[in-house]
Symmetry: C2
Subunit: 449 residues, 2 copies
């Protein structure tokens, strides 16, 4: 159903106070769509609409609301009314919400929960942001190796309603150490009397709770997994991360890298809904830093004031020379930043990539030099043409090599290669461009004139 139609339906029900037809109409609507429509209402109305559904469905819809709205809604209703909902939520979503609560709210909520739920929330919410632990779910299906296949299927059937997925089960020993994994497909195809131990895959692909989320997403993508098991330092199973969470992580990582390449600080949540003060803060830092970087280009120009005054025609070519250097640098920088992020290129490939880049940059530089030499001749004569073409060849090569190398250097020193943003590379290339251009000009023009 269209979002606007859905909002209209919900609004009409709120106004008439008649919710009787709503349930039928919305039965086949996906929780994500209902949440998108609900997001347009006030917390009081959200709650009024939500409570028209059975509790399990309430939780399904609720978790699709933006996290900030979940917090607001939790704030706006009494603990007694909210507790059943939070108990119904899946373990990972619940822990995320809990982490956004104030200390008071946390203290108020915990006593209302059963011991097992309390332990689960406290344990899941204890992992640092950015780790596998922070996105994992504790609602995984666990099997003993001594079960037969038909017993295992019975266990899964019984547990299915409460588990994140039953398509993958994890086999643990008596100490809860992860020893195997098994898909429901494999179970269904295996003889009913076979033992789980004989059918399972040993030593499954796994991560530890402190692994980075990027690593988890990369493994799920590489091996086409539905879910990946998470173990603690002792090798005990503590959670799973599912493919849909991995997809969200990969998208968030890409967004963060995009922003970084344009010198924007880490932004969580929607750009559309972000506060002006937040966006200002995330953007101003690097803008100011780069101003001071660009002082060097200015100082370079000041150094050559005399040459420039004598050959003011040189100025005409200044923007296109330094821009070309920066553009070529941004290209090779971006290629490397992304290739390092996807794992296409590794740190050890620097030598190989540098060798290739020297050739590519030479070709690019020669092409660009040819393109501007004609322009130089037309505008300033043969001498200017030579200076401009030689400068172009050099600055495109230097810009490209800076762009290529910076991400590797940052990575080598444990920094995020995405910090090697276009603007940073451009600023460095600018300084180099100014100095090279006017050095060549003053040397060559003195020689020939």
């Amino acid at each position: 159903m269209e979002l606007l139609v859905l909002i209209h339906l919900l609004r009409a029900a709120l106004e008439s106070g008649d919710f009787s037809e709503l349930a039928d109409k919305l039965a086949d609507t996906h929780p994500a769509d209902l949440a998108a429509a609900l997001a347009e209402f006030s917390p009081a109305h959200q709650w009024q609409l939500l409570t028209q559904c059975p509790l399990a469905r309430q939780a399904e819809i609720f978790v699709y609301l933006p996290l900030e709205q979940q917090v607001q809604l939790a704030h706006s209703i009494s603990r007694a009314r909210f507790t059943p909902l939070i108990r119904q939520m899946s373990s990972d979503e619940r822990a995320d919400l809990f982490n956004k609560f104030s200390d008071e709210q946390k203290q108020a909520l915990l006593p209302a929960l059963a011991q097992a739920e309390r332990d689960d929330i406290l344990s899941l919410s204890s992992y640092s942001e950015g780790t596998a632990g922070a996105i994992m779910s504790s609602d995984y299906a666990m099997l003993s190796p001594h079960l037969t296949v038909s017993e295992a299927i019975e266990v899964l059937r019984h547990e299915a309603p409460d588990k994140e997925t039953i398509y993958l089960s994890y086999v643990v020993d008596e100490k809860r150490a992860l020893i195997g994994a098994l898909s429901l497909r494999e179970l269904i195809l295996a003889p009913a009397s076979a033992l789980v131990d004989d059918v399972m895959k040993h030593d499954p692909i796994q991560v530890t709770a402190d692994s980075s989320q990027e690593e988890v997403a990369a493994l799920i993508a590489r091996y086409d997994l539905l879910a990946i098991p998470v173990v603690n330092q002792q090798g005990q199973l503590v959670g799973i991360v599912t493919h849909d969470d991995a997809m969200d992580v990969a998208a968030a990582e890409a967004t963060e890298d995009f922003h970084k390449t344009a010198t924007i600080g880490k932004l969580e949540g929607s750009v559309k809904d972000a506060k002006i003060s937040l966006l200002y803060r995330k953007r101003v830092v690097w803008l100011v830093v780069l101003v001071f970087g660009n002082i060097f280009s200015g100082a370079g120009l000041a150094l050559f004031e005399q040459v420039i005054s004598q050959h003011i025609a040189l100025l005409f070519f200044l923007p296109l020379l330094i821009a070309s250097s920066g553009n070529a640098g941004a290209q090779s920088g971006t290629l490397m930043v992304r290739a390092l992020a996807t794992g296409d290129v590794k740190l050890r490939d620097w030598g190989k990539m540098l060798g290739k880049e020297v050739l590519i940059a030479s070709l690019l530089g020669l092409t660009m030099a040819a393109a501007v030499s004609g322009l130089g001749f037309l505008r300033g004569g043969a001498d200017i043409s030579v200076v401009v073409a030689a400068t172009m060849l050099l600055v495109v090569m230097i810009g490209s090599l800076i762009g290529l190398s910076l991400p590797f250097l940052l990575s080598r020193f444990g920094m995020d290669p995405a910090t090697a943003s276009g603007p940073l590379i451009t600023s460095i290339a600018d300084v180099a461009g100014v100095v090279i251009y006017f050095s060549i000009a003053s040397w060559y023009l003195e020689l020939v004139l």
Copy 2:
């Protein structure tokens, strides 16, 4: 197993000619890892190693090889030996490979296949690149609405080995029109004697074969789907796209957008393995185009040669003013390009975003103006300080507004917003910066001096 250990093992087996121990050692190794190791060998050796495995496993490993290597390997062995392997491949991978074949190879292969396989390959390979059809698999599980739940489970058990997934089944009527979807979890939980028709979800989320892959990936992410059914214009089920393919599509789209923001043309496959001539071609076009864009900045400078000669101190501030304009523009441009790509911001949000950006850009401009006014005073006195600060405020605002608007404008006219790359915005901001700076300077300095 570590990649290098794996390569070593394979090499040792090739040298000794003794493959007897290999099978046991590699039984638990993921096909993706085996393919990564195989990729380091020549086609002849790849084939020799592959054929040590049973046919089904051969196909599993083969599809993880880079597509170019699959083509090479297919070239290097006889049709009779290759045909069994291609018959074993999953339908989507097989169609991708077929699309890379020469016409001769295609003509040679087709007669060796059964009618159904031939039709399947021809049909799947007929969809244009970038559509759902081009990545979908025809190995989906299909059910009739009249089956009982226990009959349906029996059908799935029987078909499991040949299907991409059995965790989602699609229900079609006698004309093969898609009428419902059903997860294996739902089947397992339903009463054995219930009818599929009564348990299934009606009107499932679906796409048509000509939908864009981006749209497919976005739907799978939004609704946390394991797979999405693909229908033709008549509503008949023709394929499914699974979550892992959607994740690959999302990553490839992000890479393409990254490259675009640095004016690099669409690159398929690995940057590491890309030929120098290919990288050159993908980079040179925009570099040359932007040179001609930057001529306008040069012309702007030439226009003000007189003011510059009289106040050569102005030059010192030129790089940082135009760089700041470009940097602010790259920030707002990148924020919008990514937000439009993820769906966070829609075309209709332009007004709202523009209003916010005016405020943010004013704040940024004022901060930057304050930062450079002191520098202007120290370097050139009060008059220069006024000119520089006023210019900074204006150029940061104009740069930001250009950066924000360009992606919307491109999107409005059906072009990819990612074309509004940093370098393009920078070039436009440069021209504006030069003209604004020297216009203010010549007006103000004439006024006060």
